[in-house]
Symmetry: C2
Subunit: 236 residues, 2 copies
């Protein structure tokens, strides 16, 4: 069914690592199978070994030997990628280490980050995880654990992109509204009735209805409940 059977290098005896993934996510995980994985490690041997594994698993593995190398290339592309992706990064590296990379990536729309480290102190793990890393793999780690984590990372990336797209769409559509339309809709969302909106905006009732109508059309909703949901879901 999956490609696991073709992998002699991987311990495939237990699937327990996947148990935190719900049945509902399985479909999505299928779509995530072909995701992009940025691999950063200063040890060429590890890079090559992991790249082989990930390639075999069907992931598009993009290897870098330093965080700077990755950052240089990414700032051109502005950390955008059309599809699920994540970063798998070593912690102990010269110049920019994994935690430093994490700090730099924060607030940059970075994808999920998975850290890994050799004989590392617990404090690094704590710092990394508290700063939002999805997992902290301690070398040598189990391939199953790695793959499960990456799968989780790609699912999260995918969900984030859906959300981003959704709120982008909403902002897009909101930007189509004229100022009046925007104001009217805001008052509608506050529960004001047309008459009061007209009064407070100092325009005619008929005009409020007009703007309300156009705004509904531009936002792609027909019913009030849909309007409220649209804004409510893209708020949290």
């Amino acid at each position: 069914m999956t490609k696991k059977a073709d992998l002699p290098t991987k311990d495939k005896s237990k699937d327990g690592a996947l148990k935190s993934i719900t049945i509902a996510d399985k479909e999505m995980s299928q779509r995530c199978l072909r995701g992009r994985i940025v691999l950063i490690d200063d040890d060429p041997e590890i890079v090559s070994a992991l790249k082989s594994l990930l390639d075999m698993e069907g992931y598009a593995c993009e290897p870098y030997l330093s965080a700077n190398e990755f950052l240089k290339e990414q700032f051109l592309n502005k950390l955008k990628f059309p599809g699920p992706w994540c970063i798998l990064c070593d912690v102990k590296m010269p110049e920019v280490d994994g935690l430093e990379l994490q700090r730099q990536l924060i607030n940059l729309g970075a994808p999920p980050l998975v850290l890994m480290s050799g004989a590392s102190g617990a404090s690094e793990a704590v710092e990394g995880l508290r700063a939002g890393a999805l997992d902290f793999l301690i070398k040598p780690f189990d391939a199953d654990r790695l793959l499960a984590t990456l799968q989780r990372a790609l699912i999260i990336s995918s969900q984030r992109q859906v959300n981003t797209t959704k709120s982008f769409d909403l902002n897009e559509r909101i930007s189509l509204l004229s100022k009046r339309e925007f104001d009217v809709i805001n008052r509608v969302l506050k529960g004001q009735i047309n008459r009061d909106i007209a009064e407070e905006e100092a325009i005619a009732l008929r005009t409020v209805k007009h703007h309300r109508h156009l705004a509904f059309k531009k936002l792609g909703v027909t019913k009030l409940v849909d309007l409220v949901r649209l804004f409510e879901q893209n708020k949290a």
Copy 2:
């Protein structure tokens, strides 16, 4: 301003640990100052030292020398506490260790958990944090770090209780609805108009209006937008 000045035992030179707390949270943090902190550690000296510190800070510190001792007492009270609270627990303990406690507490409506450990392996920290622990303090740790973490924990506990109360209230109020009222409201939330609701429920239009009216009153809303928000916010 705070009681910090009275504490000679505590390094109060830097407030940096608090920087992740927004201005908006400050009010709430005031209310959290007097929170309950369950302290679990098998080392009596540490328990006594930490209890002193926490007592001085104004927290209600409740010490236990083993996780079992705590669990025994809590299962009677069903892990309920009217107000913000959290658990500060050592990882390395005989019988039930911190991670085991964490596993037992999950799905039990447990409060935020802060783990601490001496010369611990990174794997324990990773496991603890991945399982949802708020922080993993490595002994010896900075008192500021501890207090900042506890403050965060109590704020989170407080917010959780607010949410729980809110959705409990909603369920409470929903349970006041008769079946008809419930069905009508559900259809209203789907955007159906009264006429169609009447048709599909095979009752008169006037009756739909009647149930709608009573349901609004029972749910404590007057406007449609409020109804939608009420259900939307208690869904996610």
